[in-house]
Symmetry: C2
Subunit: 194 residues, 2 copies
């Protein structure tokens, strides 16, 4: 039987390993051999799938975006406060994603390609959240209005998650949730979303 390797699955496994390597050593410090070690493959295997370190980093960025969007497409149950809270860095896996995500945001400041990817990602997130908000408001609001609400919801998540990522010991889940609720509850209450 021929050896069948799922090309996309292998690329994604390496991208996931790159997230771990970046979390360990930073965007600059992470080396291809660290990524290979984390993926339990040879460095040659990494360079077989990717054209060097920058390509691996971009794949790691895409993998994080995909994970967050995948989480968004889960059945969105509960009130909006709970749904929004689910995106905060509340457990080890999401804390790691936030750390690596923040490292990419810092680099995006001077990297136009990363900024373009970042923007496309936020556009997709805004659409998802806005659709959810339209449904929650029983289609009594326009998508344009819901997009503005989504901007506010996403800014609240980013602001809380950003702080919790850099001060993890002082921002346990309960504190993150409480501050997010302070921002979202009154803003959305009038529309009967929370």
């Amino acid at each position: 039987m021929p050896k069948m390797v799922d090309h996309d699955a292998q690329r994604r496994a390496i991208a996931s390993a790159a997230i771990d390597a970046i979390d360990e050593a930073g965007l600059d410090g992470a080396r291809l051999k660290d990524v290979a070690a984390a993926a339990q493959v040879t460095t040659g295997a990494v360079t077989h799938y990717f054209d060097g370190k920058d390509a691996v980093l971009m794949a790691a960025h895409e993998e994080i975006m995909r994970r967050i969007l995948d989480r968004q497409s889960d059945p969105l149950r509960g009130d909006l406060g709970e749904i929004a809270a689910a995106f905060l860095p509340l457990d080890d896996a999401s804390r790691r994603e936030w750390r690596v995500w923040l490292a990419f945001c810092g680099r995006a400041v001077v990297n136009e390609d990363l900024r373009a990817r970042h923007k496309a990602y936020y556009r997709a997130i805004v659409e998802r959240v806005a659709e959810r908000l339209v449904a929650a408001q029983r289609h009594r609001v326009s998508m344009a209005r819901a997009r503005r609400q989504a901007d506010a919801v996403i800014a609240a998540i980013d602001g809380v998650g950003f702080r919790a990522t850099l001060e993890p010991e002082d921002w346990p889940p309960a504190r993150q949730r409480a501050v997010l609720r302070m921002l979202l509850e009154p803003a959305l209450e009038e529309d009967e979303i929370v």
Copy 2:
């Protein structure tokens, strides 16, 4: 007359020049000679005041923190929404500070020293904002309650400023202010702050 150079003023001028150099080339890309050129001094003058590039970067970080805190100590007039909005990246100077600040945050993820400085800075900001909130609520709230409100105000500013920094062309001042107001107005209205 002997040449009198104000040591602190000179260090601060170099730190300011470093902010410009970092904004141009990123934390990794900025070289001492770029900092020197921006400060209109020799590279030797830079190394006279600082022990190498890391020291210059730390001074740039401190300079940004100081600028933001200095802005906070201006007489805080107007409603809280206006005061909070003043911290957003609304003009060229503040947009530059946000970009460099975000670059530092990205690096803080893997740099314990930067994280400690970041945390001390946020603690100072929270105190300033909380004092303002206590005064605005005519001392009818405790500092503990006001600190929680300050956490929310700062998270809203960070969330909006973060997005506007990475998508400047789509986030003109009016959009930033509108989203900030959506988050802050209802949250603080009940306490008669805005």
